[in-house]
């Protein structure tokens, strides 16, 4: 009998504790419900809604017209262009970041910390301004343009092209690649490399068979952290791409502000969100919590 009584008391105490936990979280729960979940619900509802002739979105006559329009050539072209630019950005970032992350990992702790701070400072500095810095460099009489033409590599005028957008995105998101790569390379047990070398593996072999496979979680994490924001980028194309060639981010914005096609803009937003969700799931599957 007494055993049952203590069990009941324990159960009660546990329930009181769990209620306390819920109450602590309650303000954030309510806030996110009102200012995040409901807005998301409205956007999803919009994607099934009807656009009137005047460009208003009316929440009735539910249909999948907006999703059908995603198959149109114009929309597909925008999606593929964004995809291509995001893939190229990711690859360039990986190629630039991997050797740097590797180099940082092989330094002494003091030098390592200093170099990491060197990577972090641009990462934390204002993104808009850092993008604008390239606008200045790429201007027709900017330093970059002058240097390229002086060296003789063409006229160096890449402003308002996809190349300028990729350059800007690489510049903006490179720290996102360096940091997870560093985190995974730094963790590698170097005695494994030593072992491979002792067994007559060449330096390149040891890298390909030991270091590269062990750093794969970092490669995947960094790639997703770069790919995801590049795909939906809005600021960089607007400043360096001149918005002449539509990318996903600016195309969605246009649907709401200029074309006044709420349902199409909403369905595109849902698609972009889907891409992000898939990317994030892969990220967590790889055990990535490096940032």
């Amino acid at each position: 009998m007494p055993a049952v009584a203590t069990q009941g008391l324990e159960h009660q105490a546990e329930r009181a504790k769990s209620r306390q936990g819920f109450l602590l979280g309650l303000p954030a729960i309510v806030y996110l419900l009102v200012f995040f979940v409901i807005p998301l619900g409205i956007v999803i509802a919009y994607s099934f809604a009807t656009r009137t002739r005047s460009g208003r979105t009316e929440l009735n006559d539910w249909n999948v017209e907006a999703y059908r329009r995603l198959g149109e050539d114009v929309v597909r072209a925008v999606a593929f262009r964004s995809l291509w630019i995001a893939v190229l950005t990711t690859v360039v970032c990986l190629v630039l970041a991997y050797p740097l992350a590797y180099f940082i990992s092989t330094r002494s702790p003091a030098v390592r910390n200093m170099m990491l701070v060197g990577v972090m400072i641009p990462f934390w500095s204002n993104f808009l301004i850092r993008t604008y810095a390239w606008r200045v460099l790429l201007d027709s009489d900017g330093l970059f343009t002058q240097m390229v033409s002086a060296v003789g590599l063409g006229d160096g005028r890449i402003l308002f092209t996809s190349n300028a957008v990729i350059l800007g995105l690489v510049y903006g998101y490179l720290p996102f690649m360096v940091l997870p790569l560093y985190a995974s390379i730094e963790r590698i047990d170097w005695s494994l490399v030593e072992g491979a070398r002792d067994l007559y593996a060449s330096g390149w072999m040891a890298f390909r068979r030991v270091v590269w496979p062990l750093s794969r979680p970092g490669v995947i994490a960094g790639s997703i952290l770069v790919f995801v924001p590049s795909f939906g980028a809005f600021v960089t194309p607007a400043i360096l791409g001149g918005n002449k060639k539509g990318l996903m981010g600016s195309y969605i914005v246009d649907q709401f502000l200029d074309a006044r096609n709420g349902p199409l803009g909403a369905s595109l937003s849902v698609v972009v969100l889907g891409v992000m969700l898939v990317g994030t799931l892969i990220y967590f599957r790889q055990g990535g919590r490096t940032l």
Partner: protein
């Protein structure tokens, strides 16, 4: 010791060693050269950005004389402070609730809490635009609330994405802490509030400050969400500058940019120094 020896074998030999060094140096040049050029050209006398004609502070004078920019900076500061305070409180509570307790529906809350982090700016902006478009009238019915101005909408939407970032940073800190200190305090008859105030809070403080810094940075950095929700009367400086620089390059924008850049860098450096100071204190 052994690790140090092995580490040196990880560094490639011969040419590739120097290639690796040169590459790393070049990436750092890539990181900082654009910033240096921007700063240098903000002191250029010429109105043409690319041509250096001499040193001048006149563009900073123009910046100080420009009322619109001054006003937008104040709006940014107000929005930033208000949204940071609210999201630090809500985000820290959420972090405690998830890391220190078990309750029904917690998993779902955890998942929703991650969404604002991974959601693209553009989707978030669309959500806020559509949401306030549909519900502003409902909110305005509440006495004392007026969303037409735009300032409140800016704060509300910045909090919506910042709660999650704060809670992630605080949770990372909480996860590394041993709950036994809190339990010991409770065993010694400390009240719940005393446990939080005297034991938990001092221990998670670096996480809370880190979360606050992230919230400040994200609030000041945000262009897309802000430009969707800000009204005519409440343009934050990021949106104002974005509008200016879409029109083209000018030395005035360079000067404004340098001010913003220096402010944001000072913030990071200050936080790094602070972090070092608190961690070395702990070491003693």
């Amino acid at each position: 010791m052994g690790k140090g020896v092995a580490r040196s074998t990880a560094e490639p030999m011969g040419y590739s060693r120097w290639l690796l060094r040169a590459h790393s140096l070049l990436v750092f040049v890539f990181f900082y050269a654009p910033i240096v050029v921007l700063v240098v050209y903000s002191f250029n006398k010429s109105a043409v950005v690319g041509k250096w004609t001499g040193f001048s502070l006149s563009w900073y004078g123009d910046f100080l004389a420009n009322d619109n920019i001054q006003r937008s900076i104040w709006i940014s500061v107000k929005v930033c402070v208000a949204s940071t305070v609210i999201s630090v409180v809500l985000g820290t509570l959420a972090a405690l609730s998830i890391e220190r307790f078990r309750w029904w529906g917690q998993k779902a809350f955890d998942a929703v809490l991650y969404l604002p982090i991974i959601i693209p700016d553009v989707t978030m902006a669309v959500m806020m635009l559509v949401f306030f478009g549909e519900t502003a009238e409902l909110f305005n019915v509440i006495p004392g609330v007026d969303l037409t101005d735009g300032l409140e909408k800016l704060v509300l939407s910045h909090v919506a994405f910042n709660i999650s970032f704060v809670s992630v940073v605080v949770r990372a800190r909480l996860a590394g802490l041993d709950a036994s200190m809190e339990e010991a305090a409770a065993d010694l008859y400390a009240s719940r509030w005393q446990v939080f105030r005297r034991v938990t809070l001092p221990q998670i403080m670096p996480g809370v400050l880190g979360g606050a810094l992230l919230a400040v940075t994200l609030s000041l950095d945000d262009v897309v969400v802000s430009s969707f929700v800000s009204g005519v009367g409440a343009t934050p400086v990021s949106v104002y500058v974005f509008g200016m620089l879409r029109k083209g390059v000018s030395p005035l924008i360079n000067a404004v940019s340098v001010v913003i850049l220096v402010a944001s860098m000072a913030l990071v450096v200050a936080s790094l120094v602070l972090e070092r100071a608190t961690s070395s204190q702990k070491g003693k």
